[in-house]
Every structure is written in structure tokens, then in C-alpha cells.
Amino acid sequence: MAGVSASAAGMISQLDAARKLALADPQVYNQVLPGILPIIGPTAHVDVRRWGADFLAEAFASPSLSNSQKEQLSPEVTPTLRAMLEGPGEDPEVVKSVVQAAASLYPFVFRRIISHPNEAALWQDMTSIKLNILQRMDSFPVAIRICCIKFAQKVVQVETPGLIADPRRPEQNETSIALVPRNHPLLQLPNLEAEASGLLDRLLSVFQESSIDPILVDATINCLAVLIRSRPAISTKIVSAVLNFNPFKQANSPMTPRLKVIVRSMERTTRALLRWVLRSVPNPPLDQKIQAYLMRLQQSRAAILSDTTAQKRPAEPTDGLDDAKRQRLSGPRKFPAMPPPPNSIAQLFTLTEDPAVQQFDVSLLPGDLVSTVTAVFLQHLDSGVLDEAVNAIRARYSHLQKVSRPTPVPDVPMAGPTGIDDDDDYDPEFLTSGEPIVQATTEKALEELAQPAIELGPFELPKPPPLTGSEVAVLSDQTVGHVFQLVGSLEAAGQTHAKQKLGLNRLAASTNDRDSWVTILMRLATRAPARLDDVATALTGDADPNQPVKSEDSEERNVANRIRQTLFMYILDDFRPRLNIAISWLTEEWYADKLMAKTHPELDHLPNYSRWVHRLIDRLLPYLDARDKNLLIRFLSEIPSINRDILDRVKTLAKDPERISMCILSMQYLLMMRPPVRDTVLDAIESIWHDGDAQAKNATAKVLAKWRPGFLEQAGQPKREADVKEETTINGLKSPSASRADTGDPRKRKAKVAVVAGDG
């Protein structure tokens, strides 16, 4: 046995090599086939026979080998096939392949006999094969039986009249008895037709059998398509037989997993064939029957398999309802948009896109059937699905009510033709010959899209009417007010935060706090309009800095001044904490004025700075009380410029006995810390001394005695001695006579003081 196996293995390897040559070049079959036929005969090893039978089946199925070649090879092969088939106890695998090969071979032999009526032996062999197969068909194992079914189908196909595509070129025509001449010696037409009819009945009997074998059913259904398409004479009979088949016949017994597989398989296979028939072989009277059958199939399936499918895949509850497409698992169900108006009531209620279902006329069914079906259907219907559908109809209806013009915009945009999901090009309805339907759908969608809804030209807003001066004023006030509201809202935050001192590195207005916004406002007021109207104002209207501050009404009401005014009021609202804002603002004003003075040297004064510092002091001073001395000192020391006018205003504090000390202290501070204004300050103190009462004289005398030593002597004040004495004790100055002599020249005085101080 081992030796046999080894030689068989060796033989098969050779045979395989030959097979590969033939696969690579179909012409090789002509040499290979005759060569191997003796090797694979009934006496060969089982593996070799299996290989050989399979090779024959493959060769005669191969599309590479031309039909004429197959026809030529058929006389050589047929006896071998017959011998293999008739060998006693032949291996089922071999038989299976032989039956397959015979099915392929039969048309070629038949064709050859038509043109070669003298080859009776060949026909004899083929007839024996046919009889052998058909006789043993029912006793074969299932694996062979399905091949016998296919063989029978092929015989039916050949022995039923086919279409003569072109009578002038018989080689182009499909092999069938339509090609057989009436007086053919071997092929008797009536016999053949009768045989075909009987075989067809036998084929279709599988649908009526009580014990259904799914694999036989599937095998039969799947081989009927070509008969339905190419043999019109029997197509109705076949379809009717299929329509009488109930895939759910076995489903009344308990559903085992195996039964589920079987029922599902037969149901889907039946449906696949019928849908294929609907599309490929249109036949209106039959089509309606088919559609009704498909409906019934769906309902039965929903009833029988719904629970099981729900268990398997709860995310896909509509599995039993929609047979065309796999439902999307996420999101609500989408219904197709209605076609453009005017719509019929049927269109309003049509939620499916399946053209087959759309064309189905329910009125064809008897009323009692409809009511039964509806009742059953409603019982098994998912209420959520029904609600969705009802809502969809409702939405459509309200949409129809709203639409007064015939310019529908598609509610549901076309599913992206480029979706990754590839759903677009999947529709079994349209895969091959559904072109008209595809066009209809596409055209409909395109129409909807292309419908010019509204003619939209370029639209321009009309230009707003020019604002009047007062409107501008109101608007600018509002704008500035908004910003100040912002500043106000940020105030708390700005104060509570212990801010990091960045010194010179800081950037103005880089953070969203009060200081930043105030800085922005200040600079908007001071710098933005610089060199525009301010110059003109400064040159003409406000030329005299010493002039009392003009009233607000006389001032030009530009945005800058609005901001200044608002800022001014803002500071005065609560001047104690906001004094630093005042100082910053005035510094900005001063800087802007200085910059302007560079380009306009004729402006020897600081128009904005002077105006607003005067105004601020005027309004500030009445509110200062004795405790605010530090405030005043700070203000006077930090504002960028001090002149006589400012001091004149400060001086008025001296008239108030409670605040004179504050006044004097602030001036003393200036004397010490701001040497450039020392003389001006001393002059102011002098004037206080002159104008003031005894308390004022007393308070100023000390200062004057220290900073302007000769003054008191000149004025001949009785308190001179005391002053000098006190001054000496305090400052250690011991040259009152020398200083007295220098009173005329302030610079010399100053120098003297410095020298003395340095000596001391």
C-alpha cells in the first residue's frame, strides 16, 4: 500500500505540473488531456482518479479553453467519464467530479452530435452517462446529488428550445434543441422535449417535498436563474413553482440553531432569486405575484425570525422589515424625501424607496387577506418604528402645508455619493441591469437639487443715513460709557490682586484689568487725535494758559474730550483711591502735549495738560480735608509739571486754618524734592505770608526763614529772630547775614545754600 501511495503521490505531482502548464497556456490541454486519460482510468489509485476527475471537471469548466476545443475533446473524454461513473463502488469524490464534468460536457457533446450525426458511439456514451446519473440521482450522497441537480438543469437547458440569436451563424447560438434539425437520426426532438419536461418537474419537485433538505433547495434555486432567463417557454412554470415554495415550512418546530440557519438560508436564497427575476426578466403579470410573495416572505420572516434576530443583534431591530439594505445601526431612521410637489396622497405616505414595493398595488389583494396581514403585522411591529414613521408623515404634511411656492428644498440631502460606507453603490436592485431605475432616482434627486429655489442677486445693505452731530455725540458718549462700565466692573479685581511690579518692562494695557483699560482710554484721549483738531484748538481757542478754565460747553466736543470729561468725572467720583489714575492721566496729557510741542514749537504751553490739571485741582481742593495731606503731597509731587497757576490754587488752602498746615507741608515737600520749582513755590509761600492771617504768617515764616533767609528781614517781621534761631537750631545754618545779602539772585542763593549745606 505504501508503495502504491508513493507512486500515486509521484504521479500526482507530475500531473499537477502538467496541470499548471495547461493553466498557464490553454493550448496545452489539447496535449495533456489525451495523455492523462489512460492514467486516470478506473484502475488507477483513488487519489489519481480523484485528481483526474477533478481535472476533467476543471478543464471543461475553464473559460480559457474555447468551446470548439472542448467540443473537439469531448469524444475522447466521454468514454473515460462513463467508465469512471460506471465503475462499481466508485469513490464519491470521483463521482462528484465526474458529474460536474458531465454537466459541462453535455452541451458540447450535444452540439457535436448535431453536426456529426454519425458519431453514434459518442452519443451512446453520453446517453449512458445521463441515464446513470439520473437513475442514481436520488440514492447518491447529498454532495453528489447537488451536482446531479446541476446536471439535470443543464440537460433541461439543452433540451428546451433556446433563442436563435442569429440563424446565419449557428456557431454563435447557444446550444439547445432549437439547433437540431427535424430529421436528425440520433436526436429525436419529441423524446428530448419530453425528457426535458420530465426532468424539470423532477427538479422542481424539491419545493414540494415534505422533508426539505436545505442544500438541495439552495442548489436548485441557484441554478434556475439561467433557465428563467434563457428559456422563456418554461420560465413561468419555474417561477410559479418557486412561488409555491414556503421556506418557513419547517419553522413551526422548535427553532434549533441548525433550523435557524436552514430557514434563513432558504428564505434568503429564494428572495435573492425572485429579486433577480424581478430585475432581469421583467414580466408584469408575474411580477405582481412575486412582489406579493416577497411581502408575505417578509412578514413570515418578521414573525418567525424577529425574536431570534433581535437576540442576535438587538441594535438592528428592523432587520426583518427592510430586506434591501442593512440598516444603519446608529441614529434615527431616515426616510427619503418626498418627490417635488405636487404630491399625491400615496406619495405622502410612501416612506420606502424600494421601487418594487412602491409599485405594489395593495388593492390587488383580497380584503380579508389584507386585514389579516395588517393585524399580524401590527402585532409584531416595533412601536418605536411605527411612531417614527407616523412622525415622518406628520412632518411631511406640515411641511406641505407650509410650502406655498413650488420651490422644494430637499429635506434630506443626498447621501454623500462619496461616503466611505460605500452604501451608495450598493443596491442589489441596481447592480447589473437596473439602469432605468437608477436614472429615475438620480434624476429625481438632481431635479430637487437643481431647482432654482430663489433668484439671489448680489445684495447690498443700503447706506445708513449720515449721523447728525447730536447722534454722534450720543453714540460716542455711549461708547465711552461702555468702556467705563467695563473699567468699573474690573475695578475690584484690579485692586484685590497684588500686582506684580514689572517696572520698565511692563507693557501698557497688556492685561485685562482696570489699569489696562484706563490706560487705553487715556491714550485714546491724549494721543489718538493729537495733531488734528487739538492743534487748531490750541492755536486759536485756548491760547492763553493763564486764562481761567473755559466752561465745558465752549470746549469742542470731540471724542477725546468726551473721554477726558468722563475720565475726569470718574476720578472725582472717588478721588482718593483713583488719584493714581489722575496722575497717570495727567502724565499722559503732559507727554502728548510735549510731543505736540516738538512739531509745533509755537505752542510754548501745554494746552490739554494745563486745562485738565487746573480743572482737577479746582474740583479736588474743596474736598480735601486735613487728613488728606499725604494725598496732596503725592499729587503735587508726582504730576509732571507744576506752575504758578497750580500753586495759586493750592495756596487757597492756606485760607482755611484747618488745612494750612497741609498746604505748607506739601509746599515744603516740593521745596525739598522738586528743586526746579523751588522758586515758584517760595514765591507762593511769600504770597501766603503776605496775604495770610497771623496763623498763616506764623506757619510760612518758618519755611521762608529756612529757604529764603533774607525775606523776613526785608519784610521786617517781628518774629524774625525767633525764626532765625529756630532755623539755626534745626538746620545748623549760621549765616543769616550772608543769605540776606543774596536775596536778589535766586541762583546764587541756591548755590549758597548748597555750599553751606555741603560745608555743614
Partner: protein
Amino acid sequence: MSTDPRLARLQARANTPQSAPAKSQPLPQPQPQSPLQSQPQPEPEPQTQTQPASPSPAPVETGHSKLTPPSLDGNVDVEAPVTVPADAVAETSEVPFKLRFCTVCASNNNRSMEAHLRLSTSDRHYPVISFGTGSFVRLPGPSISQPQVYNFNTTSYSKMYEELNAQDARLYRNNGILNMLDRNRNIKWGPERFHDWVVGASRMDALQRGDKGAEGSEGGIVDVIFTCEERCWDAVVDNLLDRGAPLNRPVHVFNIDIKDNHEEALIGGGAILELADLLNDAAAEERKQNGTRGWENGGGAARESFDERVPDILATWQERWPSLPALWTLSWF
């Protein structure tokens, strides 16, 4: 490999079950230059035919058998008379029978190719071919509305890889496309469309290129088709009806519903391999029984054939994989 850890994990998972094939992966590369050595892959050990599916062969085993072929090959080689090397055909009476498979998804890129890889590189090295049923190969692009679209049959995986790599390597690496294409181009040349498949036409070019699973499928016919989605199953069954079954060859068409993402494709590929093993075991067992006993005492009709057992096998399998709804029919080429 991608820097994305998820993809790295995927890659690792894709390769781990068949570490031996992963090792031999570079081997098919030089073959296009030497078509005469087109079948270097050794036959699996003969005893595997009766073994249950064990997806983890020892990696050394395959490499070893490659270097020192089993002695069975010796007498075969001596007797080989033709130029086409026959060393691949280590057939004896114990020859491992292998069903031929076909995997089908929409674009012949993710699910069908994962299954193609698993089937062709399992320890049984099944003959596998694969197809897509879409009208075009569609891959995710920069956005949902801008997919990358390629033609079937004329675009190679390598070309897609190069193009997408040049376009936006980061994007396509992160969404796993480059990784997938890189895997695919090591399996076969390019995506093929089911509808354009000439059943029965020889696929010697694939064999000579060294495509994975080409060995044994050179006849252009398969015994089993696995689709990965119901609409693909519908398309395949419908297309077979349309072809009119001219070849008279039966084919089992299964659908295993697999979601179209990398993770599910991996899981589904494993499930398909398991079903394939079950089917193959049944078929091989049938052949063996027929071969030994049937030789003398005739084909016992009482014995259940492989085809008959398919519903049972599928039901058993479905119990184990309830999350992958399956469907089956027997159709014809």
C-alpha cells in the same frame, strides 16, 4: 510601524496568531523576479488535516521545514519531469486536503484582506483569493466626504500606499490606512472586483508573484466564499445568478457580518478562519473515509457528506460567535 500605540497594538495582534508566516513574509518578495521558483512554501505537516484548528504553530517548525524539506519531497523531486517545479506538491495518500476559499468585502482592503491573510497564513496555508463588490475602492480620506477613490484591478496596494504616504503620511498613518495597505501589499498585488472575476480563469500570475494564498487557487475556482457584509453576500449571490452558472461547480457562499473597522476585521478574520477550519476538517474527514473505506465497499450513502454538514457546522459556529450573524447558501459558478 506607526507610532500610534493603538496601531502598534493592532499590528501586533494582526501578526501574533501566525508568527511563522510573519517570518516568512519577506520571502514572496523576490519571487516575481524568479517565476520558476514560484512555490517555495512547504506543505504543512500531513497530520494537520485531522488536528483541530490551532492558530499558533511553532515558528521554528515552518522555518525548519523550509530548510530541510520532509523526506516525502525527495522522491517527488526526482520524478518531476517538467520544468515547473513540483516540490510544492508533497502529496501522498495522506495528502492534506484543503478547501479553497474566497473572501469578499466592499473594497477588498480591510475585512476581506484580513481574512485573506489569516486563511493564507494559518498553519494550513489555505488557498485564498479575495475580492471587493464595490464599484470603486474607497478609502477614508481627509474627511468623510472626501474619500480616496481608486479603480479595482488596475491599482496596486503599493501605488495606493505611495500616493497616500506622499499626500499626508501623518493622517493616513494615524487612521491606520497606511498600515493596512502595507499589510495588503505583502499579501497580493492589488484589489480585485468580484464582478470582474472570470471564474475558472487560471491565476498563474498570482502564483508566480507569490501572492499569499495563490498556491492551490491557481485554477481560479474556490469551494467557499466568505463575504463580510450582507450586502456583499447579496451582491455575490445575485452576481452568480446573473452569470448563469456555466461552470457547474458548486460553491458555498457564507456571510459573516463584520463591521468595517480594523478591530472588528481582526476579530472577524479569526472567526472566519475558525469556520474555515471546521469546514475543512469536515471535508477532509469525508475524503479520508471515502478514500480508505469507500475504495472497497462502495460509496456509502449513509455517510453524511461534507456539504450536508454545512448547516450543522455553521450553527455550531454561530453559537460560538453570536455577535457575527452568519448567512449561507449553496450557489454555482
